[in-house]
Amino acid sequence: MDTVLEIKDLTVSFDGFKAVNDVSTAVKKGDIHFFIGPNGAGKTTLLDAICGRVKPAAGSIFFKDCGDVTKLAEHEIVERGIGRKFQVPSVFNSITVFENMELAAEKKRTIFSTLFSKLSQEQMERIEYVLNIIGLYEKRFEKPAALSHGEKQWLEIGMLFVQQPEIMLLDEPVAGMGRKETDKTGELLKEIAKDCSVVVVEHDMDFVRDFASTVTVLHEGTLLVEGDMEEVQKDPRVIEVYLGRGGE
């Protein structure tokens, strides 16, 4: 499989505190790649660095053939094909579900096109397709305030999906979901992974076990182990710092 995203010697620091310290890893095409680790291990910061929300102190992130993306602004990184979902569902509450999708779907994002262009038939179809997948087609004319927590999460994932990114970064997508919703989200990820790579930060070990193709364990800003779930689970260091003595 091809590498989509390559992180090289990445360091991010806040006032001297190194939240991510010299991390190198790579995400392969079509992978569902999980980052796990104790709180404060630097998982969220790593995602932030990839999508341009924080600027790294050192190191580089190569995406496809776009070169190093660490110098780009957030929206430029999105244009290259990296999508990001945050821990707290953040959708736009004053506009309808459909309009949320519309904003994400339209590729032309200049002032001129937002003033004059309309959605193409193809885009309409794609939005409808995604709305169906995330199960919000019926509610497309409602405002997100009327959605449940889980539905908001899906809407946000849907907004990412409709952007047709090549890599999708998800921060705790199943936090606050019940088992059933979690499973549904997992299936959704699988569907998405057909077209693009998915990077997930998650605590829910069952979820990780069920859906991960690659797992990277971070600890205090550094990369501890990387591999599939089987290997990672057996690693004594991981058991020590993360899974706890009893294991799971």
């Binding site: 939240a19 932030d48 929300r53 924080v54």
Partner: protein
């Protein structure tokens, strides 16, 4: 030489006045996120309280003791302005938490009303407050160089107020409560803190500091219904430049604006000086949008 020394002294003096005027605002804005456009009018109330105290002393107290009125006036200005602040909080400000821009608009209405109220009670013309004789004159350093007692007194008063506020906020139980409420209202409530009381008290103390500033300003300037409007923007600039929510930021902000103002004024003229200072502030904020000192946190959210 003397001129330059005196000019530096003037700069520090202007800074100290700004600090005094901005301190209460820094608390209210920094802790409560209320943009209190009526802060200037609270300063005005402090000044009028001083005026009234003086008149009471003139009428009822022996001439020999007249001079101590100012000490009473300082206390009265603090207490009465704090009380007005308390009333404002329980009637108006209470409804505005979490809506900083709305608070700006509503308190602007408050300032209109307070100005008119002052006009109705004390009349439109300026009133005179006699400064106590022990503040007349100054220390003669050498030659012509005289440092006025009043300005030295204000500097001292500012130092006291800052230390007092620092001690109060960081070393007392009440201060801890205030900081807790401002950081997380719900949690503070759940721990047994009466948040309504704390809100009202915080606002009252911020207002009381404005009262002290008003009292001190009677030593230097005019006392009229529109007194506050002369200070309000400068003080906001101080708070924003220094960084919201830190006392040290207020000190730094006032220092920069005060010294900048006097220096530019000395080099050019008063109008251009003001334009230059504000331009520098705007440019500075481009570089550091959150001001000099910011409370850093790893929470990257809004």
């Amino acid at each position: 030489m003397e001129t330059y020394v005196l000019q530096i002294f003037n700069g520090i003096s202007v800074s100290s006045i700004l600090m005094l005027a901005a301190l209460g605002l820094a608390i209210i804005f920094g802790l409560m996120k209320i943009i209190n456009m009526a802060h200037g009018e609270l300063i005005m109330i402090g000044a009028y309280v001083t005026f009234v105290t003086q008149n009471i002393f003139m009428s009822y107290v022996d001439k020999d003791y007249f001079d101590i009125y100012f000490i009473f006036a300082l206390l009265a200005a603090f207490v009465i302005t704090a009380f007005v602040g308390y009333l404002l909080e329980i009637t108006i400000i209470r409804h505005l938490y979490g809506r900083p821009l709305d608070s700006l608009l509503a308190t602007w209405g408050v300032s209109l009303v307070l100005q008119q109220l002052a006009r109705s009670i004390f009349g439109a013309p300026n009133v005179d407050v006699k400064s106590p004789t022990w503040l007349d004159g100054g220390i003669l350093i050498w030659g012509d160089l005289q440092l006025p007692y009043k300005r030295l007194f204000i500097m001292l008063l500012v130092a006291l107020c800052i230390c007092g506020v620092y001690y109060f906020l960081y070393k007392t139980t009440t201060g801890r409560r205030i900081r807790a409420v401002m950081q997380n209202r719900t949690m503070a409530k759940s721990l047994g803190i009466n948040t309504r009381k704390v809100d009202a008290m915080t606002f009252a103390i911020g207002s009381g500091l404005a009262g002290i500033a008003g009292c001190a300003l009677t030593l230097l300037g005019s006392i009229g219904p529109t007194l506050g409007t002369n200070y309000i923007i400068d003080t906001f600039m101080v708070v924003v430049l220094g960084g919201v929510g830190t006392i040290i930021g207020t000190v730094a902000g006032a220092g920069i604006i005060g010294l900048g103002n006097t220096t530019f004024e000395f080099l050019t003229d008063a109008s251009l000086g003001k334009v230059l200072v504000f331009s520098v502030v705007i440019l500075f904020l481009q570089w550091k949008p959150q001001g000099f000192f910011t409370i850093k946190s790893r929470a990257l959210d809004e």
